[in-house]
């Protein structure tokens, strides 16, 4: 059939708000098809299985385990899982459109870059939330099965984990919007959270300066919130002027720090994405 035989397409370009869910849907489909979502869930499942199995395999078992003690073991991995999600679902989201030249397909459409950004970010967050929710559901289920329930602060920990995910994802998007290659963005995102920020946190333990503004330090609240009573900062003197400091983020301050990171990083990366040019 030639085009002259067809009926003219009547359409109205959707509003910005209507275009966001379209992008979201297809970005999610991409994560499903690329098996990134599946891989993240698999990592979470394997780690939960290993943490659960180790006490049994070493013969310690869970005979004297409390709800708090049982769950803390697992939730300490939550912040690492957040970093894995941010790396898998956020690190190459922006830079990928430029490096893999898919921008040539989507940028000449009647859609604002902000809309594309929001659709992508929402899809990344949705994927991360699915992984984190399944992780917490698995941990909660095992806790019920093993110690007869979950710790009272379990849901607060889940909430902080999701907020940490939001902040980490925003930072991953920011890195993605300033980098020129997907590999560099992915490596930088992962090592920023796994190595660079923890080194800064580590220095604070020696220097005695509490770095409340560190995102990874704030992420410590995800596990700390489960502890009853909540741990307080302490200083241990080793003599000869040597001291070692243990700092714990205040949960409210940690939540605020995460929120600030999320808001600033989202705004900056959206502006950078809008200004970025497809010159290659």
């Amino acid at each position: 059939m030639t085009m002259s035989e067809t009926v003219k397409v009547h359409r109205h370009t959707p509003s910005d708000a209507s275009q966001v869910p379209i992008v979201w849907r297809y970005e999610l489909l991409k994560y499903l098809r690329s098996k990134r979502l599946l891989a993240s869930i698999a990592i979470a499942a394997v780690v939960v299985g290993l943490i659960y199995a180790i006490p049994i395999l070493t013969g310690d078992g869970y005979g004297n385990a409390t709800k708090e003690g049982f769950i803390v073991n697992f939730v300490q991995f939550a912040s690492i899982l957040v970093v894995i999600c941010a790396t898998f679902f956020g690190a190459d989201s922006i830079v990928g459109e430029f490096q893999s030249r898919t921008g040539y397909l989507v940028f000449p459409t009647p859609m604002k870059r902000e809309v594309l950004f929001l659709g992508k970010f929402m899809a990344s967050m949705t994927s991360g939330i699915i992984v984190m929710t399944l992780f917490y559901l698995g941990v909660g289920g095992l806790s019920f099965a093993t110690v007869g329930g979950v710790d009272a602060d379990f849901f607060a920990s889940y909430g902080l984990a999701l907020e940490y995910l939001l902040a980490a994802m925003a930072v991953a998007y920011f890195i993605s919007s300033i980098m020129k290659g997907s590999t560099g963005a992915t490596v930088l995102t992962f090592f920023l959270f796994i190595m660079i920020l923890p080194i800064i946190d580590g220095i604070s333990m020696v220097s005695g300066v509490k770095v409340e503004g560190s995102l990874s330090f704030a992420g410590g609240a995800i596990a700390n919130i489960l502890m009853d009573p909540y741990p307080v900062d302490e200083k241990v003197d080793y003599g000869q002027g040597m001291s070692f400091y243990s700092f714990y983020p205040d949960p409210a301050m940690a939540a605020l720090v995460m929120l600030i990171y999320a808001v600033i990083a989202v705004i900056l990366s959206m502006v950078l994405f809008k200004r970025k040019q497809l010159t290659g």
Binding site: M1, T2, M3, S4, E5, T6, V7, K8, V9, H10, R11, H12, T13, P14, Q19, I22, V23, Y26, L29, K30, R33, S34, S100, R101, T102, G103, Y104, L105, V106, F107, P108, T109, P110, M111, K112, R275, Q277, L278, T279
Partner: protein, 318 residues
Amino acid sequence: MAQRERGQVPMIEIQNLSKSFGPIKAVDSLNLKVSKGETVGFLGPNGAGKTTTIKIMTNLISATSGRAVLHGVDVLTNPKQALDSVGAVVETPEFYPFLTPVETLAYLGSIRGMHSDQIKRRSNEVLQQVKLEEWRNTRIGKFSKGMKQRLAFGQALLHEPEILILDEPTSGLDPRGMVEVREIIRQLKKEHYTIFMSSHLLLEVQEVCDRAALIDKGKLLVYDSMDNLKNLTKVMKIEVTTVSGITDGLMNKIRSMKNVRAVEGVNSQTIVVTFEGPMEARAELLQAIQSLGARVTGFSPVGLPLEMLYMDLVKESR
């Protein structure tokens, strides 16, 4: 479908468009107007500013100054509205490898506000048109460059845009694919689509386009109808065949003739003379060669007039 009407309404209007990359001016105060229903070829050597202009027109890069108005809307200030009536293929775009052609078209159709039944119908039509029906549900990651280029063409046609902007539309295609794409462009031209296409292939532009714009170093050298451009051609190559044979002496004498720029031997009986001058001068050249004792059996222009003009103008601008 009601056929698009041709007319003087400018569908594309580029006004004093400039783009600088540091000290380099990729596009320099470019002015161009494309009327409704016209097919315009955009020509120039590598680095002339063709792709940069097209990238500005399709919201891939910003301009330093000027305007690029599509269907009455400046793409630089309101890209969403300006690109609503545009279908574009810029370079060879990459597709999301985990999606199929049907899913990709559904995505882009939804973004453009097409209903699901329209998307389904038009997807069938364009996939048939670009000969990808049997690959409709195959993930694009498995496609060759040529297949991706054809799909890129398909997505540009999906929403039946008023304006088609094509950057090297036959790039990456095999000879058969190139012929097929040219056929599609001819068909679209009959339906009075407004088409703006850049190309290195002068034959392609000469065959398909109503008008051509030649640019170099970001500046417009000439913009006119194909017929007028052919008449502008001052330099041409003429193949001269004799039965008496071509000697070095004869070639040297022809080289020294008025209006002759170069003489190349093809074989013992044929030479190609690069010549600059009007029709009368061509007749004089023939007479002069014959007066040297050569028994001429063939005297005809070779090469494309547009190619000659292109080489001539680009050489002049450098």
